[in-house]
């Protein structure tokens, strides 16, 4: 059928949007979504918004690092384990 209602397309794209943003779709599926986004302004704008949101989450949450004291404690722990075998 050539005249699929446009809404169905949009719904499908919305359903796959995060997979698309996360790079989880096959190249073929991703190309389908891309094609729809290029042709559908509302979906394109929504996709832009959601991508910005996901990038924002990444940027705001990846700044923490294990404290140096904790790293040191763990290294010491490993040394103490030393030659003691796998069994507890």
């Amino acid at each position: 059928m050539t005249d699929e209602p446009r809404d169905t397309d949009c719904m499908e794209v919305l359903d796959r949007l995060y997979e698309y943003i996360d790079g989880e779709l096959t190249p073929e599926r991703a190309a389908e979504v891309r094609r729809h986004l290029d042709a559908c302004a509302p979906c394109f704008r929504l996709a832009g918004f959601e991508s910005a949101y996901v990038r924002f989450l990444e940027a705001r949450t990846r700044g923490q690092h294990a404290p140096a004291a904790l790293r040191k404690k763990i290294l010491e722990q490993l040394l103490l384990e030393g030659s003691s075998s796998e069994s507890p």
Partner: protein
């Protein structure tokens, strides 16, 4: 060279580089710094003791996160979490985009929200949703890896991530409105 030295060297080379990841995930699971540190220590010790079960050159990060998760479930999840959980089933709206498409279609208001506020909001998500979002958005794991670590089908990861992101987005939007960073759309 004694066997223990080799074991420690391979552990230090393959497992320790993931310490920051283990720490960040532990922080969000435990939602408390000192408990998170205990959780990380316990996890790394367990991992070291069962290092012989790990196949070198495979996915050490996922392997460590699996141990972290089991340690957390066994010992920590029972303990009371400080944060109040949001009811994820109350999130009806699909996306905040519909509220801001006229005033802020590119989501510039997100940039006004600082790290601590985002982390605090993540901490209020229910367990299964929180851990999925952390593994995906904080650590960048693929859906299949998250499915393995959290022991659910990929479809469940997908739906949890969807709902967790939407719930979090709504919460951050409400916060931005409350702080006056953005005007709420008049109904």
């Amino acid at each position: 060279m004694p066997e223990s030295d080799t074991k420690r060297q391979t552990f230090e080379a393959e497992a320790l580089p993931h310490l920051d990841t283990v720490y960040r995930v532990a922080l969000r699971l435990a939602a408390d710094e000192s408990r998170a540190e205990d959780l990380v220590q316990e996890t790394m010790l367990r991992a070291y003791r069962s290092w012989h079960q790990y196949t070198r050159g495979t996915n050490a990060r996922a392997w460590l996160l699996t141990i972290l998760r089991h340690t957390f479930i066994n010992q920590y999840r029972k303990a009371k979490r400080a944060a109040v959980e949001v009811d994820i089933h109350q999130i009806e709206s699909y996306t905040v985009f519909h509220d801001v498409q006229e005033t802020d279609p590119e989501g510039a208001f997100f940039d006004t929200i600082v790290d601590d506020e985002v982390l605090r909001a993540i901490d209020t998500l229910p367990d299964g949703f929180r851990e999925t979002l952390i593994l995906s958005d904080v650590e960048g794991l693929a859906y299949a890896e998250i499915a393995t670590i959290t022991e659910v089908p990929v479809g469940t990861v997908k739906s949890r991530l969807f709902r967790a992101r939407q719930a979090l987005q709504r919460q951050l939007y409400d916060y931005a409105v409350e702080m006056g960073y953005i005007q709420r759309r008049e109904a």
